[in-house]
């Protein structure tokens, strides 16, 4: 019970202090909206929402979560308030779960605008809603965990931002968000398959068009596997680097 109270209040504190602040809410709305608008203006009448839907959803999640978690954790470490959390009689796994849950929820929130816009305004047809929701949740988890992994390496807030961009921008091109992995040069394709976001995007594509590059079972297995690898490797480094 005590652990649950602590978990809930860390999550609530992060939501109030970081994620539900007006600049972040507006980011979650404006960012995907701007991308949708750009696609619409660029392609005019020949705009096929299904082609960009998964890319915009994935990018909204990726950009919302990775930097948010890495910046907030680095900021709290710098101000030493994170020390207070480490000093609480709370299992470190649970503490980290509480920290990442806020970012995961923020990622899911970021995906709502492009989904609503695509379905209600552009009349996009989603072939499998369950898989779409699963894909959004998994992408939010994996992007958040990438943010956690970044925060373990960063000492300063600007470092966290720089590292986030270092990972995020190449992912736009490498993970099949707008350019299918198969259309990339053969030499680059192995890098795409090393990145977990590739599999998350593939799940989203399948849920919308029913067409994807890999088998859905393989996508789901690999994303979940990457989640565990990132979570436990981050935990290992946190214990090693932050409790010295």
């Amino acid at each position: 019970m005590k652990q649950t109270i602590a978990f809930g209040n860390i999550l609530l504190k992060d939501m109030r202090n970081y994620y539900l602040k007006p600049p972040n809410i507006s980011w979650g709305i404006i960012f995907p909206f701007a991308w949708m608008l750009m696609m619409f203006v660029k392609t005019k009448s020949a705009f096929h929402i299904e082609e960009v839907f998964s890319g915009i959803v994935a990018m909204s999640i990726l950009f919302g979560t990775t930097s948010m978690l890495s910046v907030t954790i680095t900021f709290e470490r710098k101000s030493r308030s994170f020390e207070r959390l480490l000093l609480a009689p709370l299992r470190i796994e649970l503490l980290i779960l509480a920290k990442i849950t806020g970012a995961i929820l923020f990622g899911i929130f970021n995906s709502i605008i492009p989904v609503l816009f695509s379905v209600l305004y552009f009349k996009a047809v989603v072939t499998n809603w369950t898989l779409l929701v699963t894909g959004i949740i998994l992408l939010s988890i994996i992007s958040t965990l990438l943010g956690l992994f970044i925060s373990v390496s960063a000492k300063e807030v600007f470092e966290a931002q720089t590292y986030s961009n270092f990972f995020r921008f190449p992912m736009i091109f490498l993970c099949g968000l707008f350019i299918p992995v198969a259309a990339l040069p053969v030499l680059i394709q192995p890098f795409s398959y090393l990145l977990p976001v590739t599999y998350g995007v593939d799940i989203l594509k399948y849920s919308i068009t029913g067409d994807n590059a890999l088998s859905i079972v393989l996508d789901l297995t690999l994303v979940i596997m990457f989640c565990f690898i990132l979570f436990y490797s981050s935990l290992f480094f946190i214990k090693r680097k932050w409790i010295i």
Binding site: I10, N17, R80, S81, A88, P89, L90, I243
Partner: protein, 324 residues
């Protein structure tokens, strides 16, 4: 017989080849104020960090209430409150919200943490600033709220790392009074400070730590008694001396029965086993064109014991700390 609430046995901390804490052993009795005193880099914070679970223990064991918690230090965190050397609450949250949040980390129910937060705000005379954001607090207020946050779950042991460092005199005094009151209510206090007078006033027992080793551990009265067999004279000069080392050496050479050292730019401390005859010293200094404006006999203090045992000048220790 007193109950040992903390016991550290052969505690060691290595960072690569460097040994920050070197095989130290001590215990803290339930309800006492235990002080760890030493210069910068002596290993005080590392020792605290090992006891509270913020640093891994390289060797040795830590017992809380007789139970070995070396490998499961998280369990000890339920009964301890920690005040770090810097205030570490959330800037964007109010004082009241900060306290409630800290209470939740220890699993206190909503009503319990709210009541406790209100009580602590009154005790620390912060109730009028309860709804102000933490970032708007003065340094002294921040320190007080940080201590209040460490007490939110009624810990058995309170760890205080330099509690009055860098705050105004009034707040420092209030914090010292609060520590005394807490101790009267049976809270065990583990304190590090570089203010020797503070340690003398608050602590029951003190460990002098230098270069990772405990040089001496005893009650304050016993430590002071160590210096009682010495005569100490403080001589204030009419001007600041540039080459203090040279003048000290000259005096030590000329008067072999005394030991001289500067405690600041114009004050010499003269220590001797025999009673000190000041007239030859006055003559000698006059011949060097240095004149005495004041001379006073010094009552042995903890500071003297510290200087005698560690060879570290207090003035240097304070300057180092302030630089930090």
């Amino acid at each position: 017989m007193k109950e040992k609430i903390i016991e550290a046995k052969n505690l060691t901390k290595n960072y690569g080849d460097f040994t920050a804490v070197d095989d130290i052993s001590f215990w803290v009795d339930k309800g006492e104020v235990f002080g760890l005193l030493g210069p910068n880099g002596a290993g005080k914070t590392t020792t605290i960090n090992m006891l509270i679970g913020m640093a891994k223990i390289s060797a040795g064991k830590v017992y809380y209430n007789g139970v070995d918690l070396t490998k499961t230090i998280k369990k000890a965190q339920e009964i301890i409150g920690v005040v770090a050397d810097e205030s570490n609450l959330y800037d964007e949250m109010s004082g009241y919200d900060n306290l409630c949040f800290c209470g939740s980390l220890y699993g206190l129910s909503k009503s319990d943490r709210e009541n406790r937060a209100k009580d602590l705000l009154i005790t620390f005379r912060l109730n009028e600033a309860a709804n102000k954001k933490f970032k708007a607090y003065s340094k002294g207020m921040k320190r007080k709220l940080t201590i209040a946050a460490a007490l939110i779950h009624n810990p058995q042991i309170l760890f205080l790392d330099e509690p009055t460092s860098g705050i105004d005199v009034a707040s420092a005094r209030q914090i010292r009074d609060l520590i005394k009151k807490l101790n009267e209510k049976e809270t065990t206090v583990f304190l590090t400070t570089h203010y020797i007078e503070e340690a003398e006033r608050l602590c029951d027992r003190i460990a002098f730590l230098n270069k990772g080793k405990i040089i001496k551990l005893d009650s304050v009265s016993n430590l002071i008694n160590e210096s009682k067999d010495e005569n100490i004279l403080e001589v204030v000069l009419d001007e600041n001396i540039c080459d203090r080392v040279q003048l000290s050496e000259k005096l030590n050479k000329k008067f072999t029965y005394i030991t001289c050292s500067f405690i600041n730019d114009n004050t010499i401390r003269i220590i001797s086993i025999k009673p000190i005859d000041i007239s030859p010293i006055v003559h000698f200094l006059s011949s060097e064109n240095i004149f005495i404006i004041e001379a006073r006999l010094h009552r042995p203090s903890l500071e003297d014991a510290f200087v005698k045992l560690t060879g570290i000048e207090i003035d240097m220790m304070k300057k180092e700390k302030e630089k930090k």
